[in-house]
């Protein structure tokens, strides 16, 4: 019994000493390891946007939470949606937090993390006489959609064949402007961006007018993208995403920007 106590006391002392030594070592590691460069969009409410010269948004906060979870220093680099893809390919950014899915850019061949949010695209319109839209009532309408996305595939598959004219845009802002100006009858926009815009003063003239329920790409699991040769980084990101969900940090961020949380 005495031997056991002595052993336990020794183990406690050893643990305490190693704890004292390992603290500074971790800090030193964090500083010595080069910072990760993370790409986000520069004007994409509510995901990444500048307000009072400060970068804000859901993707920005998620990036910070993941980097903290990974114990890495990260530099967030805002850029256009198209630059994100090129910079990730070129390796000038380590990973991109922009809600991509494997459907969006299958040919690019990136690796995708565990989903960090899940959303659907919705139809919006500025035409107050417009009522509920569906693939069957969309004939003759001009539909604005983000190019090279699951949304574009969906409207091409389910609306173009029914007589809708599809018009593609480079980012959500362009679609909102086109809808407001009446250049397109309806916009088919990623839901989270649409809700934020509809709640803003500029979006008050618009309304949500329908969904594509039960069809392909109805919901998309949105992921963080890394280059194919960064499998180790992807594993670390996955662990960080899972831990953020478990600790409640994810839900906290989610409710800051949205009316709900989906994980």
């Amino acid at each position: 019994m005495g031997a056991v106590r002595r052993f336990a006391a020794g183990a406690c002392c050893l643990a305490a000493i190693s704890g004292l030594l390992s603290g500074p070592a971790v800090c030193a590691d964090r500083e010595s390891v080069p910072a990760l460069i993370v790409g986000v969009q520069d004007d994409d409410r509510p995901f990444a946007y500048k307000e009072n010269n400060e970068l804000k948004g859901f993707n920005v906060d998620i990036t910070k939470a993941i980097c903290k979870q990974m114990n890495r220093v990260c530099g967030i680099k805002p850029m256009s949606r198209w630059d994100l893809k090129h910079e990730l390919k070129a390796g000038t950014v380590d990973f991109v937090v922009d809600g991509w899915t494997s459907i969006d850019d299958a040919e690019a061949g990136f690796l995708y993390s565990h989903p960090y949010y899940r959303s659907r695209d919705v139809f919006i319109t500025a035409d107050s006489s417009q009522t509920r839209l569906s693939p069957t009532t969309i004939a003759g309408k001009t539909v604005g959609v983000l190019s090279e996305t699951a949304g574009e595939k969906a409207v091409n598959e389910h609306c173009a064949s029914r007589g809708a004219v599809i018009s593609t845009f480079m980012n959500n802002r362009e679609i909102f402007d086109a809808v407001a100006a009446g250049h397109v009858d309806v916009g088919y926009v990623e839901g989270y961006a649409a809700y934020t815009h509809l709640k803003s003063p500029e979006g008050f003239a618009m309304n949500p007018v329908g969904l594509l329920p039960g069809l392909a790409y109805e919901f998309s699991e949105r992921c963080i993208a890394v280059r194919k040769d960064r499998g180790d980084l992807l594993s670390a990101i996955n662990r960080a995403v899972d831990e953020a969900k478990l600790t409640g940090r994810y839900q906290q961020i989610s409710l800051t920007y949205f009316a709900f949380m989906n994980y």
């Binding site: 659907r120 809700y195 709640k199 969904l211 329920p213 039960g214 009316a259 709900f260 949380m261």
Partner: protein
């Protein structure tokens, strides 16, 4: 005893006879085999059920974390939805109501309340009802604006008319329009509006009557009051629509909440129900199992009473019969057919065995007598040559050193020829008796043939053989039987003695006989009445 059994044999259970009892074979087929089968089935089912209980428990443990998280998330989202719907309904700020509408819409559109496809219809129905409520709210807002405008018209008309016509003492300030007071969709709010209308009417009527003339002024107010009433009716209608949709939404949300909670806990409930049903199943199986074992115990007890005990008793009877030769008077009765059959034939068997035993005893006596006759020389009453042959073949374990002596009566032919065969027979009888008298109990004497005797000395020695041989020779020489009185010649015998050797079977005895025969021949040649030992030289 034998006669008793023969006289009253046990009742035979023949096919034509009606038997009382049960068949062991049929009993085992009808009860034992199905019981065993049921027990085996129960055992395997029990093991399977225990496995299922384990699986279901493991599922609960595995699913508990994610399910609890999902329940928490769904509850938070639905609370948010309720909050936004309340804002949509009650806020006077149009922008807040609009934002609340978009948020409520997004919660339902994103299906974040749950991920179960079975609820999608409910989500979409609720979503469309929220859209309808938003439209109703917008129409209600418009109706309220119109009402407010109508009220203002009445008020300004009244003010203008009263001032123009000089009507005094009218509490007009009590009816000053206040925007915030109008927008109240509760019943109380509507009543208040109705009171305003009634108040105006009363006031104008009373004042007009009191003034006794400003009938015209009252007439002028009728138009704006009618407009106010129309706006109020329109507001009432829109408010009714809005309330109706609100109630539908309330019901939808209640259903959603109930369904979600139900769906979320259904996962647990299914597993728990599964466990409970498996546990009940295993309880039933245990009951069947215990029942089966009890039945088996009863079966074994019955078997002990009706099979084992009678069989044991029968075995004891057979043992007793073998030991004492006494057949049992009565055997224990068994209700088992097969044992009854056995019990019915057992006394017959005893009887037969008894008879056989008695016949065997008689045969043994007869056989012994016959054997004795066959192996005994009838004249001398000693063992004959055949007995010697059998003696040689009998296995012996401890016979020790053996010596064979051949004893031959000297001049026996002479006695036989001279005094007759009867005399010769007497001589043979007397000498045989004399030889036998001289030998020890373990020694054997055989009449070898004619007047020749073969003596086998076991556990002997050379000195003993010499002593015995000489004693026989001397005793024969000294014999004086009555029948010898007429004979002047004395009787004598020649004895040939073999080497002493260890008994190894027939071969060694044959060799010794040969040796003693040679020695006898030498004794004869040496003059008779001699004892000669075998000498190789």
């Amino acid at each position: 005893m034998t006669e008793e059994h023969r006289a009253s044999p046990a009742p035979a259970a023949g096919p034509g006879r009606r038997r009382r009892g049960i068949s062991l074979g049929r009993f085992l087929m009808v009860v034992g085999v199905p019981l065993l089968f049921i027990l085996m089935m129960c055992g395997s089912l029990y093991l399977r059920t225990v496995g299922q209980v384990e699986q279901a428990s493991a599922n609960i443990v595995l699913q508990a974390g994610p399910q609890i998280t999902r329940v928490q998330r769904s509850l938070i989202n639905i609370e948010n939805l309720k909050h936004f719907l309340t804002l949509m309904r009650y806020t006077t700020d149009e922008r807040s109501a609009r934002r609340a509408y978009i948020d409520a819409w997004s919660i339902l559109a994103e299906s974040v309340l749950d991920r179960f496809s079975t609820n999608n219809e409910l989500f979409y129905t609720t979503l469309y009802n929220v859209e309808t409520m938003w439209t109703a709210r917008q129409r209600l807002d418009a109706a309220q604006e119109e009402l407010f405008r109508a009220w203002n018209r009445v008020y300004s008309d009244a003010e203008l008319t009263f001032v123009r016509d000089g009507v005094k003492n009218v509490r007009l300030h009590e009816f000053r329009p206040t925007h915030a007071a109008v927008y109240d969709i509760s019943e109380a709010g509507t009543d208040e509006l109705r009171e305003i209308v009634a108040g105006y009417r009363t006031m104008f009527t009373l004042e007009c009557m009191a003034q006794g003339g400003p009938q015209k002024a009252c007439e002028r107010l009728r138009g704006s009051i009618a407009g106010f009433r129309r706006a109020l009716n329109e507001f009432d209608k829109e408010r009714g629509d809005f309330l109706r949709v609100s109630k539908v939404i309330d019901s939808d949300v209640e259903t959603l909440m109930g369904t979600l909670t139900q769906v979320e806990i259904n996962g647990f409930l299914e597993e728990i129900t599964d466990i409970s049903s498996h546990a009940n199943q295993s309880k039933q199986l245990i009951v069947i199992f215990l029942g089966g074992f009890m039945a088996l115990a009863i079966l074994l007890t019955v078997a002990m009473l009706f099979i084992v005990r009678p069989v044991t008793r029968m075995a004891e009877s057979i043992r007793e019969f073998r030991a004492k030769g006494i057949a049992p008077k009565e055997l224990p009765k068994s209700p088992i057919f097969e044992l009854q059959e056995l019990q019915s034939v057992l006394p017959l068997l005893f009887t037969d065995m008894q008879s056989e035993k008695e016949r065997n005893a008689v045969m043994t006596v007869e056989r012994d007598a016959l054997r004795s006759e066959t192996l005994t020389d009838p004249l001398t009453q000693i063992a004959n040559r055949r007995a010697l042959e059998l003696f040689k073949q009998e296995p012996r374990s401890a016979y020790g050193r053996v010596v064979v002596m051949m004893v031959d009566i000297d001049y026996f032919k002479h006695f036989n020829d001279t005094y007759g065969h009867r005399f010769g027979d007497e001589v043979l009888r007397e000498i045989a008796r004399e030889i036998r008298d001289q030998l020890r109990g373990r020694d054997q004497v055989f009449r070898y043939g004619g007047e020749e005797f073969c003596v086998v000395l076991s556990e002997s020695s050379e000195d003993l053989a010499r002593e015995l041989a000489n004693r026989i020779r001397e005793c024969v020489r000294q014999m004086h039987p009555k029948f010898l009185e007429q004979c002047p010649t004395k009787l004598s015998v020649s004895v040939g003695v073999s080497d002493i050797t260890y008994w190894t079977g027939q071969e060694s005895l044959d060799a010794l006989i040969e040796q003693s025969d040679q020695a006898l021949y030498r004794a004869k040649r040496a003059g008779r009445n001699k004892v000669v030992f075998y000498d190789v030289e």
